[in-house]
């Protein structure tokens, strides 16, 4: 009897161990990106753009070319790369502080120009790298370093819903929100990320995948408890679903 490999590390993922905290969702999301790149056979022409935040070292974990951008500017950098090398597969990988706070202008306008790039947006409602400050996506009442009494809508506003906002624009072709709180949802997230890159490979428009994720360290919870907390608290505010699928990529797949 021989043994067949059912699951192992995708080729586009480098051998470097992740620096992320135990249980952090970034590792799985990185792997899903690498799997999509491998399945679409575009690893030799993919260029990633790393953000500022916990995933600042994303470039260490993939086996293809990378640019490391300034905080929030990844969509502008990706615009420059994609316009210069239109046959490349260009994606940004950004957190909620990077994309939904300091980089709001860059993401909205890259989306609105319909840049033919893919954006992977990891929303865990907190700044991780700097030690747990309030993010634009922090929930009402959620305690962070900079909202020690809980986020108060009257002074700090409400959680920004980026997918919904971007879906109001004409140009993006695919805007979806997924999570990886269970294996079933993880497989849906895998499909969404695949769809987003497939659209780019086909030369279509701007694709955006928001992944609602956990931050066990800064939430002060165990990883498994964090996924439960996410399900009960984040998903009511950030409902899963596809907000825009102009070309019907989900049906065609």
């Amino acid at each position: 009897m021989t043994m067949k490999k059912v699951f192992s590390r995708p080729a586009s993922l480098s051998k470097t161990p992740f620096h992320y905290c135990p249980g952090c969702d970034h590792g799985v999301i990185h792997r899903l990106v690498a799997e999509a790149i491998d399945e679409l056979e575009v690893g030799d022409r993919t260029i990633g753009v790393a953000p500022v935040g916990c995933s600042v070292f994303a470039y260490d974990y993939f086996n293809f070319d990378f640019n490391q951008a300034a905080h929030g500017r990844a969509p502008a950098v990706a615009t420059g790369i994609k316009r210069t090398r239109p046959d490349s597969i260009v994606f940004t990988y950004q957190g909620d502080g990077d994309l939904a706070a300091i980089g709001t202008a860059e993401i909205i306008h890259a989306a609105n120009r319909g840049e033919k790039i893919t954006v992977i947006f990891v929303n865990n409602a907190i700044y991780g790298m700097t030690g747990g400050q309030m993010a634009p996506t922090t929930l009402i009442g959620m305690k962070t370093q900079t909202s020690p009494y809980g986020r108060d809508a009257s002074t700090a506003g409400n959680p920004i819903k980026m997918s919904e906002m971007i879906a109001t624009l004409e140009s993006p072709v695919y805007v979806t929100r997924v999570t990886i709180n269970s294996v079933a949802n993880l497989m849906k997230a895998k499909k969404a990320i695949y769809n987003a890159f497939k659209l780019q490979k086909e030369g279509k428009g701007f694709s955006f995948v928001e992944v609602v994720a956990i931050c066990p360290t800064n939430w002060g919870k165990k990883p498994a408890d964090s996924h439960k907390w996410l399900t009960e608290n984040m998903l009511p505010v950030f409902p899963l679903g596809t907000f825009k699928d102009t070309l019907g990529v989900e049906k065609s797949a």
Binding site: V6, S8, Y20, P22, G23, G27, V183, L186, P223
Partner: protein, 70 residues
Amino acid sequence: MSKWVINESLCKGCGICIARCPLKILAYADHLTPKGVYPAAITDEAKCTSCAICARSCPDVAIEIYKEEK
């Protein structure tokens, strides 16, 4: 050869695989890795169906899954 192979040097002991295993055949090992982590371990490999839920859930891509081929 095992169906369930872990690279203990990558495991951070987060316990997500243990929580998600549908057959409840994963548990923390009773030894520490050089990083000071109690890694995940399989308690009853004969029961393992190679479903790969643990491996797909692992944030550190520390688990490889094999299946017996007839």
